[in-house]
Subunit: 195 residues, 2 copies
DNA sequence: GTCTATATCACGATAGAC
DNA sequence: GTCTATCGTGATATAGAC
């Protein structure tokens, strides 16, 4: 792995752990085992390196989500697979967390990937819900866009609750909660609804 | 308003806007129109002042939530009132955002109020859901804790999506989405379920 | 490409006068 | 209580040698 590559990976890890305001070029360099000269040769500065790091992370996140949401099974199966996939819950979402970073939000080049990523994700989930409705798996009263937003929000909020609690428990509860609510909107095999 | 008070209010605003790592004592002093000597007279340092600010914000948040959740109406009415109350959506949650701050998370005195606040909020919402079930307003299949976690998570995640999008739209969609899902779990007047 | 030296400024806090 | 002076450290970057 060359220096440029190491710098991007180092920046990705630190942006995830500490955000943009909380990360200094020096720290990035040390973790990458690269000198200052090296970093400023490959990148115009902190912002430029951060942009490369964020774009790569966003790309990976999108690919991982797409793989599960395009998988086999019913709409609910796929949403469940996506929500329940293995996650580093206590570390939070590497993209969602940047949404709270003041310097990221005022820098268009850094903010753009966040907007694109969540825009894409909400649209992708809405499409899955719409498919479910079209196939007769989900009730037609479900608003795909609103349902998709609620699902993504539960995920992002689940991270917040887990970090606040210091445990993954509230994350798992939130995911279980929304899936239970969604499950009742299933058309055919409404499992054990009490009555 | 005396200097001490101005410092706490200044810190509250800046912690909301920029987080703990993104806020310097100097900035707090300038906004409070107070000198360094003044700040270090009233507080032991940045951390001490931040703790006072966070605790006050957490207290207000809790009071506001309790007022709505203890109000009149059915369980769904109260949850709806809470979720739909006026909010500065694009500014995000002043407590939830601190969950992404690396220095807050490793400082017990600063982290504790977050844990307490969300712990209380989840329990309070779970109690409302439980009441709804007991009163026959909500289906007994609903798990109060899981449902409560999903509701709070939707709120916190809604902020994330709104900030990423630069619009309040996804927040409103997420809230509408979860309320629609929850509405179908209403016992009596199941409105227009299609079939 | 990578290194070291240097520059400028901000951070977070302390000291002691008033 | 509030002020100014000062301290040591780190942030972010540039310059120029190798």
């Amino acid at each position: 792995m060359n220096a440029r590559e190491r710098l991007v990976e180092s920046a990705r890890a630190l942006l995830w752990e500490r955000g943009y305001v909380g990360t200094s070029p020096k720290t990035i360099q040390q973790r990458a085992d690269a000198g200052q000269g090296s970093m400023y040769h490959h990148f115009a500065g902190k912002e430029d390196l951060a942009e490369a790091a964020i774009r790569r992370t966003a790309g990976e996140l999108r690919a991982a989500a797409d793989a599960l949401l395009s998988g086999p099974g019913t709409a609910i199966d796929r949403v469940t697979a996506y929500l329940r996939r293995e996650r580093d819950v206590l570390r939070g979402c590497p993209i969602g967390r940047l949404t709270q970073d003041p310097d990221v939000m005022v820098t268009p080049a850094l903010r753009a990937p966040l907007e694109e990523t969540f825009g894409w994700l909400r649209a992708r989930l809405a499409a899955v819900v719409r498919e479910g409705v079209d196939r007769g798996e989900l009730r037609p009263t479900l608003d795909p866009a609103a349902t998709a937003a609620a699902i993504v929000a539960t995920l992002q909020g689940g991270y917040v609750l887990a970090r606040a609690a210091g445990t993954t428990e509230p994350f798992d509860q939130a995911v279980g909660g929304i899936l239970a609510l969604l499950g009742a909107h299933t058309v055919r095999p409404r499992p054990k609804e009490g009555h």
